[in-house]
Subunit: 247 residues, 2 copies
């Protein structure tokens, strides 16, 4: 029996959504079961052992550990992963000014086996927010640009509501309506949505740009619990030693 | 633009996995976007408003609210759902002796639009545990029979480790290896597995039957927090009024 059956129902690809219960962060494993090349999107430092065990149990080789942006609510797992899997390269937007092995820009392609992700720049929550589009499988990983019936905050880091509105409308809502969207978070127990659903049902992004900016200004959200720990660590992709060495 | 685009990437079906964070229960929405007929597997009473909102926002008609078994860790949402959507019918195994509109047996088919689920009897965690197999989409909903790298407890209700071992080996591991398995719970942030993976990697069910029975006997798990509230309520599918009237 071929081990590629581990891939699951469509056999030609591996896709796993994983959850971290404290910051409600979703992590994604994507892989090509033939070449065994895998990528990991938005790992969380506390869950690195779980993530690596799943990848190794499936016999995959982790090629890239990728962040959608410099997170303010958790420390990325990419630094820990690189310690444990030295061949793995970290990736983040060049607009984030964060340290990583690969700096990504609009239009770049991330290749793993027979698959590739298209990099789309979707700033507004932060300057360096990226959305990764898996055209071959009709999926997109939106980070905090758009959430299920919501969107990322625009009141810290380089938040800018007008930019976020344009990013979602130009770069995400322009995808085919049946594309499944996988966000970096959900706080209501939902795991995915679609382009069509958010274009019709998102309570913020279905409004005009002016109304959206007003809604975001009036949210009055509490200061993020982990931001003072998370952002400095994530600017060096979770490499605490590196961070300490710079002091 | 056709509203069936709400279906997501494959267009011809709707599938959503939902999470309840207290009991770590997964709820599933399955639907046919053409006929709009939907079913809901293992709803949780506290999350009924969320579940109904998603179903109604997508323009679906909920035909059945189904339990995989009489849960001991949460109160089912089926009673509340039937109050809010009177046309919806509840379903549970006839071997559970619980009240419901439809009593299911091995081999029954649950039809929704152009789709159907096959009912498989998988006792061992409880006598009335069912696994629902969606052959058209290479998925199975296993309740607590098999979990991701684990399985349901056999130390309360009608728990029987030998029966559970046989159920998993005969009724679940006999499915094609690429079938995705969706359990009723996961406590590690994983959302799905496959037949092939569990046949290879499940730390309990890859053992011999004798070893499995010994492992289960030695688990020494704490008494389930919600069992005294949940089981009586779930025997009447969460219909508290009905339950009170019987006293
Ligand atoms: Fe963020
Ligand atoms: Fe159970």
């Amino acid at each position: 029996r071929k081990m590629s059956a581990l891939a699951g129902r469509d056999n030609d690809y591996i896709f796993r959504q994983l959850l971290e219960y404290t910051s409600f962060t979703y992590t994604y494993i994507l892989a090509d079961p033939e070449s065994k090349e895998a990528i990991l999107i938005d790992p969380v430092i506390e869950m690195v052992n779980r993530d690596i065990k799943i990848i190794e149990d499936m016999g995959l080789n982790l090629k890239y550990a990728i962040n959608t942006h410099v997170h303010a609510d958790h420390v990325t797992g990419t630094g820990e992963i690189k310690k444990k899997i030295p061949s793995c390269k970290s990736m983040i937007s060049k607009y984030s000014n964060a340290k990583a092995d690969v700096q990504l820009s609009e239009g770049d392609k991330i290749k793993f086996g027979k698959f590739e992700l298209e990099v789309r720049s979707t700033p507004g929550h932060t300057d360096g927010c990226l959305t990764y589009v898996w055209h071959q499988k009709n999926m997109a990983f939106t980070g905090d640009a758009i959430l299920i019936r919501g969107c990322g905050r625009t009141d810290f880091q380089q938040g800018n509501s007008g930019r976020l509105y344009d990013s979602v409308h130009n770069q995400i809502f322009s995808l085919p309506p049946n594309f499944t969207l996988y966000p970096a978070h959900d706080y209501t127990g939902q795991t995915s949505t679609t382009v069509e659903e958010e274009k019709k049902l998102n309570p913020r992004l279905t409004k005009t740009k002016e109304e959206f900016i007003k809604i975001m200004k009036e949210l009055n959200l509490p200061y993020p619990k982990q931001i003072d720990r998370a952002v400095p660590a994530n600017m060096v992709c979770g490499m605490f030693e590196l961070q300490d060495a710079k002091k």
